[in-house]
Symmetry: C2
Subunit: 365 residues, 2 copies
């Protein structure tokens, strides 16, 4: 049995609480002899800054580079509102994404039947929803230079951010989208603003050419990003896979997540390119939700997004498809039996704590 190198970066806020539940799940798989893990732990975000004045240390970056998969909790909180910009908690996450080359961010938005009523949308609009946002994660306005604030002669200031995309960057993320669409409902919607942005023009041209060359069997549609946000609210079931850039992906995936009414439920995977020699991809798995400092330490957090992120790690990094199916099945069973953390419990009904939810999932395995 292969031993998988797993780095846990719980981070700030509710990160450590939800990560603790993943650890009980990992132990279960280990004890049963179903998988072997060599586990390291590190710091990222505000807690890393507190420890050594950096949002992630060189040592932990090295561990991340060596890991087969990184599990990431969440970062940030009001405590670190005033740390220098380059050391803000998010800088740790952005550095992990960039330095590990995790260009493909997969964000499924699935509406669990048992939870359709938790959505602010009408049940018929979201019931059975299963879409996948494929977000470019190492380019665009997040990383382009110049990115600066300069003081002008008259004392006013000018801020600049630069959105940059090259054809190879667009090509590789769209390939991921087409490949995944083939395993699903075979449709890709490419979202950009070609009517306003040159990167949008290049994006549209590149995805069109790639489609004609290698993926003509997949249905491709182009949608303006503003219209896509609107259509996600109007009738999200029209989509299968949505592929888009870093910034639009940030917003569209949050909209898609909220449709399901269960932000505490949604996992994500960020994948690098396949290594030409080993065939391995670097990978980081994290919940879509944030660090939720307001509820941290209270046992209120829903650990399902974090546990589901581990299920994605089993599937995409460890090739443990059966184990992934089993874990996702356990989550569905627990939900089916009515077990709810506060965020997904109907008002006035009983809710379980973070660790009770974790224990229920382990029991259902």
């Amino acid at each position: 049995m292969a031993t998988h190198k797993l780095l846990l970066l719980p981070g700030d806020g509710i990160g450590p609480e939800v990560m603790a539940q993943v650890e009980t799940v990992v132990s279960w798989f280990e004890k049963r002899g179903l998988a072997g893990f060599a586990i390291e732990k590190g710091l990222v975000g505000g807690c890393a800054y507190d420890a050594h004045k950096q949002a992630i240390s060189e040592g932990d970056m090295k561990l991340a580079q060596d890991a087969d998969a990184v599990l990431f909790g969440a970062v940030g909180g009001p405590k670190w509102a005033d740390v220098p910009y380059q050391h803000r908690p998010e800088a740790g996450l952005l550095r992990l994404r960039k330095d590990l080359g995790l260009f493909a961010n997969l964000r499924p938005a699935i509406c669990y039947p048992a939870l359709a009523s938790a959505s602010s949308l009408k049940p018929e609009v979201v019931e059975g929803l299963d879409i996948l946002i494929v977000r470019e994660l190492t380019g665009g306005v997040y990383f382009g230079e110049p990115k600066e604030i300069v003081t002008l002669e008259d004392g006013s200031k000018r801020g600049v951010d630069t959105q940059v995309y090259t054809t190879p960057e667009i090509d590789r993320i769209c390939r991921v989208a087409f490949e995944l669409a083939r395993t699903r409902r075979n449709k890709v919607s490419s979202a950009e603003k070609h009517n306003v942005m040159k990167t949008g023009v290049l994006w549209k041209q590149t995805v069109t050419a790639l489609h004609a060359k290698d993926y003509a069997d997949v249905e491709l549609e182009h949608v303006l990003a503003d219209n896509c946000a609107m259509q996600l609210v109007r009738w999200p079931k029209q989509y299968d896979v949505i592929v888009t850039d870093n910034l639009f992906g940030d917003i569209l995936s949050d909209v898609a997540a909220m449709l399901t009414g269960s932000l505490g439920m949604l996992p994500s995977a960020s994948l690098g390119a396949e290594d030409a020699v080993t065939g391995k991809r670097k990978a980081l798995y994290e919940p879509v939700h944030g660090s939720a400092p307001d509820i941290a330490g209270k046992g209120l957090a829903n650990p399902i997004a974090m546990i589901g992120s581990f299920a994605m790690a089993l599937r995409y990094s460890f090739g443990a498809i059966e184990a992934a199916d089993r874990l996702e099945g356990a989550i569905a069973d627990v939900l089916g039996s009515g077990t709810r953390t506060k965020d997904i419990a109907a008002p006035g009904t009983n809710a379980v704590s973070t660790s009770e939810m974790g224990a229920a999932i382990v029991k259902a395995l």
Copy 2:
């Protein structure tokens, strides 16, 4: 009675149909002697390109510069998919915004009680919704330079767009938001991505300083743009005025519009700075919806967003508050009486045509 110079730019698709209904409304006000207009007409978008190979001619730009208000329909359609980038239909609209200095785009999202059931959201989430998005319209990634596609040595291409904001630009749009909030529920939510973008950092600093200096009586909150999109779907009634940049405003206002279930209903105003001498502002009024080429020429379009845009012109450009109230009242009455165009009619119920809706509103005046 003052004569107001009005330029009508119906544009493409359903633009001319909905503009025709505004003309009947304008005539009504003129015949009653309630307002005097000197009306010019021009071309913008694809039809302007067809006529003289430009998305708007110099002559029509001159008319727009001279007008007290421009009424704009919609531009674009598949017919012009392949015109050179600088002449695409949207270029006409972008040039109007930029050259007239229309930095403040006001997009109300109001859920008419009679239409709450048309939304994809649960009625309790949207009933009574009344929020206002104040979008910066002449800066940001829409206009920053460099904005280009270059071919690299290896034959691949690189696209670049540049987001630029200066403190005076941020200051003036936030002032508009604070002033408007004072006439409403006194709350401003400022949306940016200061955790990723330097323009977001500058935006947050600038609005914070302005608030402390001149608007401490207004409640100010900062919200990340991705979270704002999410919150708009979760519980939009938490907002009053949302102020944001050009690109985030494009997306957030589309999400907000879709919440109301009635995209064909929503008007917008784009305003310039007050002239130091005359006290006048340049202004353009347009529906939030697009040119909808699929239904153009069929009498299916809802003219209410266009007519409502004229009501905004009466209010903001002509100081004709009573006339604006009257026109908005007529729209509400017609909706209250159950008159519906197809986009807002319940499935299986009768719908009226574009011109029937226009006539009903004129009758209700």
